[in-house]
Point group: none
Chain length 245, copies 2
Amino acid sequence: MLKPKFRNISIVLYKPKYAGNIGAVARAAKNMGIHHIIVVGAEKYDNEEILQRSTHLAADVVDHIRYEVNIKDALGSFSYIVGTTARLGKGRGPFIVPRVAASDIVDRSQQNKVALLFGPEDTGLANEQLRLCHLVVSIPTSREFTSLNLSHAVMILCYEIFVASSSAASTEVAPKLALSSELEGMYEQIKTLLAEIGFLNPENPDYWMMHLRRFFTRAGILSLEVKIVRGICRQLQWYAHHKKS
Amino acid sequence: MLKPKFRNISIVLYKPKYAGNIGAVARAAKNMGIHHIIVVGAEKYDNEEILQRSTHLAADVVDHIRYEVNIKDALGSFSYIVGTTARLGKGRGPFIVPRVAASDIVDRSQQNKVALLFGPEDTGLANEQLRLCHLVVSIPTSREFTSLNLSHAVMILCYEIFVASSSAASTEVAPKLALSSELEGMYEQIKTLLAEIGFLNPENPDYWMMHLRRFFTRAGILSLEVKIVRGICRQLQWYAHHKKS
């Protein structure tokens, strides 16, 4: 098994009902660099069904799932426990959105073992389990349908953790925009061509040019693209003159 | 059916393989306030299987799924198409992370019909479909396992859109973009013209066209601007033919 990105973070599923969901959770977790899963409860699950939904690429995560009968045994070695809930009842919060929780979780996990605790598909976590949590996360949803699939809830929290940890993910590589001088050269060339073919009104040649300028600047045209446009103009001019003679 | 939060946003599934995934997508979409789903392809799906995974609470979304055989028919009425991919091959990007895409999608959807396009489970979208997209989103994942379950990918993008729409009261009105069908007409005309003047390599005419497509879609070209470009092409063609005779 490769070294996971988040070796101190575990997903803890409290009494899940469906083997398929455990598999889907394993896949989602591994997609986001989390390899440790603990399943709590007395239930036995069909391993084939788990593997079918995890796909073979997360089979290693499935093979290492720890099964615990009792929640206290499952959570004993963790020092930071993050619960999740869709039911925003009084006395169950305060609730934190995933984005805020994620950066906290990434920070804590540097030095601490962190458990992300999810309840059963039908009822979610009860107050009894929420009481064990340091933090309770609630995923925002449309009010008309708040109940997420278990693996979807896991995915959202893991995804937020992954994004929070790679602040590099937000530093997109911006492509190289054309210089102002390149742009002006291109506009001159387009204007000459359009005048030649009679597209521009000689009385007011800048009317259409203004539309074109506005479009090109809004687009944030790249150096490479300026070269392509100028290549096309050159070819058009060559073609026109060539045909004339 | 309740009024969806995002009435201008549709999920478009291109040739999904598994009915269960369609159901899981319907659930995820409705959780995040998106009610419109289009499934593209000739395949027939088991509706029972779809409904089992959507749960009865998203059955209304499943009942209203539009099935289309052909991707151009599916996308024709949209003016902003957002593709998704995990394969970051050269010439497939530039790629945007979901968070950046989400606020753009929320803005655009105020005035435009927006399609979120997802490919088949095994291969994802091919270059042929990505070419139709104004924006290509890539969801960040752990490098060791980049392939997301289809409904997980849909959930992440829908979740980001939901969060973007509720946090930012984005009041800017985005201008009216060209329809996909208008764009395709323009590309055809440009391609014909460039072939005629010998700018395109007949062996691989799509190489330069791909650069042009990418530029125009990134620019978010308006209906009016498509008309200007087509007018210029028409005039160029007229000029070329006129000079010949």
